[in-house]
């Protein structure tokens, strides 16, 4: 497994995490949240989250179930907007602009900020059509280029050899791991800057997990990753920074090494050492 910091300059992340982000240009932060509180109906799920994600970094969001990680993650590309009873105060900035600003086109935002879900969710169309579904929807390539794009993205995620002869088959005949890689290829095909991953490997076998993790590492720093995971070893393996959510609060945020080896807060200590959760 690849060492932390091989791809990106971890030092700047460390500086950011320790709170002294003054010397970082704002453009170094691709996504940041300002006093973000989220809830459904009367219930507040998370409160007052100020979190910044440096461009090119891999950030793990960890914490017990129900701590608000997924709600937080889904808000970053406005997937919660249409959920019944969803309430929000505070803001999320993408490249220094509010994602709810009238200047921001929701569909264009989602093209820049993609998402991968816990359960692989290929569309009911052929494998090839799955990869280019987003490309076609955004009309970002000529018809004659689509096949080439599909091939390129499938190669990128390491699926090409396995599906080369069955591009027109149903994606549901692929294994769970292959389906998730297909969804990743589909997300990559529209060229996102940020990928939000919601427990992307929790339903996969160890070999597939390794494939997905290696991909994440190789795609960074071109793509910024924000990963919700319950797999603490995974957070340690792949992330530069880790945010620990606990009971609707951002309890601690910092470089992954620091969070796992020398956390400042007792809750974090109990969680990462396996005495809680």
């Amino acid at each position: 497994m690849i060492q932390q910091g091989e791809h990106v300059n971890v030092q700047s992340f460390d500086a950011l995490a320790s709170g002294s982000d003054n010397h970082l240009e704002p453009t170094d932060l691709i996504v940041s949240t300002k006093e973000l509180s989220l809830g459904f109906g009367q219930k507040t799920v998370i409160a007052d989250i100020d979190l910044s994600f440096p461009r090119g970094s891999i950030t793990a969001l960890i914490g017990p179930s129900g701590s608000g990680k997924t709600t937080f993650l889904r808000t970053l590309n406005r997937m919660n907007d249409n959920v019944k009873g969803f309430t929000r105060t505070g803001d999320v900035l993408f490249n220094s602009e509010s994602i709810w600003s009238p200047n921001i086109d929701l569909l264009a935002l989602r093209r820049r900020v993609g998402m991968l879900f816990q359960r692989a969710n290929p569309f009911p169309m052929s494998i090839e059509q799955n990869v280019i579904a987003g490309v076609k929807a955004h009309n970002i390539a000529k018809k004659s280029q689509l096949k080439q794009i599909a091939k390129m993205r499938l190669e990128e995620v390491g699926l090409w050899q396995a599906v080369e002869t069955r591009l027109h088959d149903s994606p549901f005949r692929l294994s769970g791991g292959q389906q998730q890689l297909l969804c990743l290829a589909r997300a990559l095909a529209i060229g996102p800057d940020v990928l939000l991953l919601d427990e992307p490997t929790s339903a996969l076998d160890p070999t597939s997990i390794e494939a997905v993790e290696n991909l994440i590492l190789s795609l960074s720093p071109a793509i910024t990753f924000i990963v919700v995971t319950h797999n603490l070893a995974q957070a340690r393996r792949i992330s530069h920074n880790t945010a620990f959510f606990f009971e609707g609060q951002l309890t601690e945020y910092g470089p992954t090494k620091h969070i796992f080896e020398d956390p400042s807060r007792p809750e974090t200590q109990r969680y990462v050492s396996g005495r809680m959760g």
Binding site: F117, P124, M125, Q129, A133, A137, S170, P171, F172
Partner: protein, 297 residues
Amino acid sequence: MAQTTLDPLNTNLLGGTSARRKSTAAIIWVLASLSLVAIVGPAIWIIGSVFGKMMKGWHWSVLTEVGAGLGGGLLNEIIGTLMIVAGVAIIAGSMGILSGFFLSEYGDGLLGGVLRTASEVLAGVPSIVLGYVGYVALVVHFHWGYSLGAGILVLTVMVVPYIAKTTEISLKQVPIAYREGAEALGMKNSQILRRIVLKTALPGITTGMIIATAIAVGETAPLLYTAGYSQSLPALSFTHHPVGYLTYAVWNFYNQPSVTAQQLSFDAAGILIIAIILLIVLSRVIVAMTQKHSEFR
């Protein structure tokens, strides 16, 4: 019994229990087979006897000539049925599918509840009552007379609830993960609907349409009140011209003391059965063609 089957030691070691299990299995197998025979038997018997009687005195002129008293052909009834069914498929189809879409996407509130209940009540109204209402309202009050329009509208009211219900259910069964995946890709709502949701829901919607069309093909009572009957070819007019249809021929000619008339009755019945079988085949073909990549195949 339940206790012994739950205990693996008993069932495996005691011969008596095993024998009981075998006899239970045999009884269930026999009952299941009998049920199958009870369904398939009458179907084959009806189809066989109708086709048998149809073939015995079959003349191809039945398909090319209009009716003439107790003889002639069934061309006027065939065209009439086709026109009625086409009208119902278009009007009831669009109304039903749009209502089902509304109920599935926006039907959680009060309006949705009212619409759903009204639709269920409507589905329970006997067809002859709908026919009579159609007669009073359309034929008499609006002065449409016995006509294609009156027949189509009454059948439409009859089958819209089926189409709406099946459409609603099929749309609701589209996995939320598909929609979320498409939303996360930044697809427009119209694209999500067209490329993913409708495609997934199509087998259900098609089934609803086929059931509705089959009901329209096979209905008699409401048409007696509204479409009337005519032995000439249907006019291209929604009002004031009565229309012939096959179910009327089945019922009317069978009661006539004439061999040629009774032959026409069986011919009409045979053509109806063929039409229904074709509809079923058509729906299977549509489903097979669109569901090649389905998760639930």
